[in-house]
């Protein structure tokens, strides 16, 4: 019987059926970080349990890491206690830890792929909702809570009900200046922030076939913002090319057999999907969120919805968002003044994100009074970026070049908005207070759109600011 990748991977990792009717699913690769794991280790100790497969768990530290100091102890005593606790837990349980001095530390969803830990046909779990990122490789990757982190540490399995699969085809070609971020914001806007409940999203079509691995990661990363528990792209030559030679990728004879196996996991051409959605790439424009969830997004040339322009069931949500954002329904998103610009996060903190922006900002300057920060997603990204001179390009344009971490995506470190500042952000969530100030306002957009906003001092169309699509100086 023809099967989707999801079904194949699910079946291969099924241990047994539990009394709840759920599946006990084997988790091949478990990633942990400092925020959601300490309580899990605490529970293991209380229960007298140990880590069953220590070699299948990898740790790094990302959420609380300051991006402008690298000396310990951190000035934040709580953050310092958290990193020490993770270090202790990894040492005691013999878990590989990509620590601050490893040269490999960074946002867990950037570290896994770049180390070659994220492989096709595997199951991955992490106590972090953006674990869906790893689906870009044709892995089935779930964000989980701390009790499940405990369960995976103790048994290498988790309980879960099988998902339905929705195939999302994006066909045609994206216009210049339209990026992976715009694709996923468009999908979430179209299907809703809870439209994916009960589904795994399988992304396919020309646009995904032509995307780089890093672009696929950006899309899969935000599957959870559309309510889907995971999202994935079938593995292909692009996937294998990316993985070849990574530290944890198979080598020698194992490489060839791994690739053959990985290919076999791709969805069969004639498999049945529970739902299919078709999108024309030409309909997708640079997109910006105007509200308080990632589905409240419009293209750069649209106006912000007003309560009387939406269906009855959305009126309260629009009113609440407009009040929080202090925006007028019916007004343009373009031209709204910003205070802060943030380029980084597990959504858009990879090398290609930084390279794309660097291509356009030379000779330009961040507008007066705007704080613009660039936070590479990992130490590896930071290192390669420096070798390519990107740090200098950003600095000369007036951006602050920082160390690796989650930073202002969720502001658990010192990088926070103040008061009701507006931030043009390449991150993934525009929830109330997400960026560290309870009244702070977030506008999600692609990294190049963030740069356009930083340089203009207001929300702008990157295609106009940078002449994207015209002949670019090489």
């Amino acid at each position: 019987m023809a099967k989707s990748l999801f079904e194949k991977v699910w079946d291969a990792h099924t241990v047994r059926t539990l009394s709840s009717g759920e599946t006990q699913l084997f988790i091949g690769t478990h990633l942990i970080h400092e925020v959601t794991s300490p309580q899990a280790f605490g529970m293991l100790r209380e229960m007298g349990l140990s880590v069953k497969f220590p070699e299948r768990t990898y740790a790094t530290v990302d959420h609380i890491v300051p991006t402008n100091e690298s000396v310990e102890p951190f000035s934040d005593a709580l953050a310092d206690a958290m990193i020490k606790e993770l270090r202790r837990n990894c040492k005691e349980s013999e878990i590989t830890f990509f620590d601050l001095d490893s040269g490999k530390q960074g946002v867990v969803h950037i570290v896994g792929p770049e180390q070659g830990l994220t492989q096709p046909g595997t199951t991955i779990a992490c106590g972090d909702s953006h674990t869906s990122t790893h689906g870009a490789f044709g892995a089935i990757a779930f964000g989980v809570g701390t009790s499940q982190v405990r369960n995976i540490l103790a048994t290498q399995t988790m309980a879960m009900a099988e998902l339905k699969v929705r195939r999302i085809n994006v066909t045609g070609q994206l216009s210049p200046g339209v990026y992976a971020k715009d694709v996923i914001l468009y999908i979430i806007r179209m299907l809703g922030v809870n439209g994916g409940t009960g589904f795994a999203y399988e992304y396919g079509g020309d646009v995904f076939d032509n995307m780089s691995m890093e672009e696929r990661m950006t899309v899969c990363n935000m599957s959870i913002e559309g309510g889907a528990r995971c999202g994935y792209v079938n593995p292909d030559e692009t996937t294998f090319e990316y993985l070849k030679g990574r530290p944890y990728s198979p080598i020698g004879d194992d490489w060839g057999s791994a690739v053959e196996l990985w290919k076999s996991y791709a969805s069969d051409a004639d498999c049945d999907y529970d739902d299919v959605v078709n999108i024309d790439a030409a309909d997708i424009a640079p997109t910006v969120t105007w509200g308080i969830n990632p589905g409240q997004a419009i293209s750069i040339n649209e106006t912000i919805p007003s309560p009387d322009s939406v269906p009855a069931d959305q009126v309260a949500g629009v009113e609440e968002a407009l009040e929080f954002m202090q925006f007028e329904g019916g007004s343009a998103i373009k031209g709204i003044a910003i205070d802060v610009a943030f380029i980084g996060s597990c959504t858009n903190g990879r090398l290609s994100d930084l390279e794309e922006v660097a291509k356009y900002i030379q000779g330009k300057r961040v507008a007066e009074g705007i704080q613009a920060i660039v936070v590479p997603g990992s130490q590896v990204v930071a290192q390669i970026a420096k070798e390519k001179g990107l740090d200098r390009i950003f600095s000369e344009a007036g951006f602050e070049w920082r160390g690796a971490g989650c930073s202002m995506c969720l502001a658990m470190n010192p990088d926070k908005l103040v008061g009701d500042q507006i931030c043009a952000s390449s991150s993934n969530r525009n929830f109330k207070g997400r960026q560290g100030s309870p009244t702070g306002r977030t506008l999600l957009m692609s990294p190049l759109m963030v740069a356009a906003a930083a340089i203009s001092g207001k929300v702008a169309d990157a295609r106009e600011v940078f002449g994207v699509g015209e002949t670019v100086n090489a």
Partner: protein, 198 residues
């Protein structure tokens, strides 16, 4: 590991309106700088309940007439966003023993069930009927009958839906699945052996 069988939960209720209430709102990230879940209760919904100087805002959770409520009533897609278990932990530690909503985000649903916190899905209309009853008389006892998927309040009763995997676990005292997962050790090892990359 014998767990309590949760066949029903009862208490007075409070309504926190809104759809798509995310886990950042339930427990802002800065309160996750901790290595235990202790003390999270007092920070539940902190930023919508307090001004930046710490003075209270006008929020239903702080209305004296709803003090001591243990059933939370809310809108659709409750608990979306971050997978932080800190969110249901905060709700439970603030004294709530059940949540009734039009719908729940999936990770939140699983995290809550694992803590023995029943989440019941009801229609918008039925929730509004409960809200009206509670608003009229905040001492109204609201019961989520997990076993029979009913919500009783005053002399009224409506149906609710609790996903079977969760309902069974709650009423049989198997909502924390670690014991059963551990029992599968032989099968776990067999599966691991079959997987080429493990």
């Amino acid at each position: 590991m014998a767990l309590k069988k949760i066949t029903q939960v009862s208490g007075t209720a409070v309504y926190v309106p809104g759809n798509d209430i995310d886990t950042d709102r339930i427990i802002p990230a800065r309160f996750m700088k901790c290595i235990t879940f202790d003390g999270l209760g007092e920070f539940m919904f902190y930023d919508v309940r307090r001004h930046e100087d710490g003075t209270p805002k006008d929020h239903p959770l702080d209305e004296p007439r709803f003090a001591g409520a243990s059933i939370l009533l809310t809108g659709n897609n409750f608990g979306c966003g971050s997978s932080r278990e800190h969110a249901p932990q905060a709700i439970a530690k603030a004294g709530f023993n059940g949540v009734i909503a039009e719908g729940f985000a999936e990770i939140f649903f699983g995290n809550s069930t694992t803590l023995g916190l029943p989440l019941a899905v009801a229609t918008k209309e039925d929730i509004q009927t409960i809200v009206a009853a509670v608003d009229k008389d905040p001492t109204t006892e609201v019961t989520i009958d997990v076993e029979n998927q009913r919500i009783r309040f005053g002399d009224q009763e409506v149906t609710c839906f609790i996903r079977e995997s969760a309902r069974g676990g709650l009423i049989e005292g198997k909502w924390d699945q670690i014991a059963e997962l551990l029992e599968g050790e032989a099968e776990i090892n067999a599966t691991a052996k079959e997987l080429p990359y493990v």
